[in-house]
């Protein structure tokens, strides 16, 4: 496919074209809300912006376009794929937010503007190849997320969650900036590839060690890796369900993209030097990954609130993706990227089901889900699919992506066993643990008896959940749909 339509229109701005459309949309959104009084027309305008931006991105992605803008942004297969992921997330959230009873009614234009701005920040990070743009992009996404979490007003839980989020987020910003300043001091430049070259000539220094520790801690807060995860369940429980879905699927992927961008590039270039302690760093990531999935899954067992349970399972899923940073192979990165995509549909879908049921007057406790199989057959069935997919039951998407990710942990690309078999063992054991608490919800929905009265959920939720169900099944039986893009994106990052 040819990208001349886009390149003619945007000329030298082509690498950042999808973000420019989002920027214009985000600026226009509060004004749009002044006109029509109905919330769904604002959401429709936001969806138009997202679809326009996604169309531009898909054209560029299919045309294998590569280009740089101002030496700060670089559009390649990896950036295109991640932008596609963020578009998917925001489109699902924008679709449901107008019919949710939890989202704001008074400031709905601002809500959509912040949603678009947060996504724009994530997209900037996906294309960034400089520490400055990564930092500003992450902060753009984070600061708007604080407001989105606080926007369920007059709810004490939401305001408490927002305070925790803003303080933990500020702490993580301070840690990362300190790390970035050390990295700048060591390498003398902010371009990631140039830093990698500079580091591979001078090897491991104490200043780089400080940079590494503070950056792992700071960005670890963003992806809620153990032991930096305590804020995540509170925020996902307190925020409105569409925002929880956005944070669990979008914001978390943002942190993972930063990890991939900074650490993979640094260490893949750095492996050439023996004094550059890559293996030690791989073990640090392996331990963080193992701890993250174990703590996430084990604590999730004890939860009675379903949003909190999903939050802990989301922490565990981030642990699975962190395996990529321990293994550091192209094959594993392919699996990791694919798991990020399937996670959007499984976890996003599960949060949307919870949100839909809250609109219909069902509580957040697992005991409130008793008899749901009779009361709302489609919702219960969708939840069943999402939870089984998260646990990794074939033939659903979660099984396929976990299979690729875990097999990349055991074997490298040439079929030789790696030293990370224990990590794959921990991950598979964790999948078994997770099945226990997912099955608890399924048992409540289908086996236990509850109210008999039928539930009606808003149409927009049904549509969004149907899309998630569709992709959860399609990506499970036909993974090539995304997998080819994932492998070319992984090749770009390791290239």
């Amino acid at each position: 496919m040819d990208a001349t339509i886009v390149t003619d229109l945007f000329r030298e701005f082509t690498p950042i074209a999808p973000m420019l459309i989002m920027l214009l949309g985000a600026l226009a959104m509060p004004a749009v809300a002044l006109g029509p009084k109905r919330r769904y027309s604002v959401s429709a305008a936001a969806l138009v912006v997202i679809i326009a931006s996604a169309a531009v991105n898909v054209i560029l992605l299919l045309a294998d376009y590569t280009g740089t803008y101002a030496g700060l942004f670089e559009y390649d297969a990896f950036a295109g794929l991640m932008i596609l992921l963020f578009h998917t997330v925001v489109a699902l959230v924008a679709l449901v937010s107008s019919s949710s009873t939890e989202t704001t009614k008074l400031h709905f234009g601002v809500f959509n503007a912040l949603l678009l701005a947060a996504t724009m920040g994530m997209m900037f990070v996906a294309t960034a190849n400089d520490l400055i743009t990564i930092f500003v992009g992450v902060e753009l996404a984070s600061i708007t997320s604080y407001i989105l979490a606080a926007m369920k007003r007059n709810d004490p839980r939401a305001s408490e969650a927002a305070v925790k989020y803003v303080i933990v987020g500020g702490l993580s910003t301070a840690l990362t900036v300190y790390g970035l300043s050390m990295l700048y001091g060591v390498a003398g430049t902010t371009n990631i590839e140039e830093i990698a070259v500079a580091l591979s000539t001078q090897g491991f220094t104490w200043a780089f060690g400080i940079a590494l520790v503070t950056m792992i801690a700071g960005y670890g807060f963003k992806i809620a890796a153990v032991p930096f995860h305590m804020w995540a369940p509170d925020v996902y429980e307190g925020a409105s369900s569409p925002v929880s879905a956005f944070l669990a699927t979008g914001s978390k992927k943002l942190g993972i993209v930063v990890f991939f961008k900074i650490f993979l590039i640094l260490f893949v270039t750095g492996t050439a030097v023996a004094s550059f302690a890559t293996e030690e760093v791989q073990y640090v990531f392996a331990i963080i990954a193992a701890l993250t999935m174990t703590v996430g899954n084990v604590v999730a067992i004890a939860q009675n609130n379903i949003k909190r349970m999903l939050a802990y399972s989301s922490i565990a899923q981030a642990g699975y993706i962190l395996i990529v940073l321990a293994v550091m192979s192209e094959y594993a990165l392919t699996g990791g990227l694919f798991h990020m995509f399937t996670h959007v549909f499984m976890k996003g879908g599960a949060f949307l089901v919870v949100g839909a049921l809250i609109c219909a007057g069902v509580g957040e406790k697992i005991s409130d889900y008793r008899g749901l199989g009779k009361r709302a057959p489609f919702m219960a069935f969708a939840m069943l699919l999402f939870l089984f997919s998260l646990a990794g039951i074939p033939p659903l998407a979660g099984f396929t992506s976990k299979l690729i990710l875990f097999s990349a942990t055991i074997f490298d690309g040439n079929g030789v066993m790696t030293q990370w078999i224990w990590l794959a063992f921990v991950a598979i054991l964790n999948s078994a643990i997770s099945l226990y608490y997912y099955a608890r919800v399924v048992k409540a929905m289908y086996v236990e008896k509850g109210d008999a009265e039928k539930i009606k959920v808003p149409k927009a939720f049904t549509v969004a959940i149907a899309i998630c169900v569709l992709f959860t099944i399609v990506l499970g039986v036909y993974p090539q749909l995304i997998l080819d893009f994932c492998s070319s994106a992984a090749a770009t990052l390791f290239g």
Binding site: V136, I147, S159, E160, A174, L175
Partner: protein, 100 residues
């Protein structure tokens, strides 16, 4: 000339004071101020590295950090105000209804 280590140690001490404050203070506004201290420690690092290598990118980064910090504090204070309205307190101990 003052050696670069002096500046870096000063920044590290500032960072440590900020981190200590974030961990022990219970008033959330003081916690926000301590986060600002940590950010400023990083800014000093950037400026020092920039001055000693005559590379201006570090100074550009500082301007970005200051802008981001201002936005973060503005949002943070608004969120604290909102919390005060709904919960009647901004002490960390009063904002602990959700645990585990």
């Amino acid at each position: 000339m003052i050696p670069i280590e002096a500046f870096l140690i000063f920044a590290a001490i500032l960072f440590a004071i900020g981190a200590y404050g974030v961990l022990v203070k219970s008033n959330t506004i003081v916690v926000l101020m301590c986060i600002e201290l940590m950010l400023n420690a990083a800014n000093i690092n950037f400026i020092v590295f920039s001055a000693f290598t005559t590379d201006v990118v570090g100074q550009v980064f500082v301007i970005m950090t200051i802008t981001v910090a201002a936005a973060e504090v503005a949002v943070g204070i608004a969120i604290l105000l909102n919390a005060y309205k709904t919960k009647g307190t901004i002490e960390a101990d009063g904002l602990a209804s959700m645990r585990w």
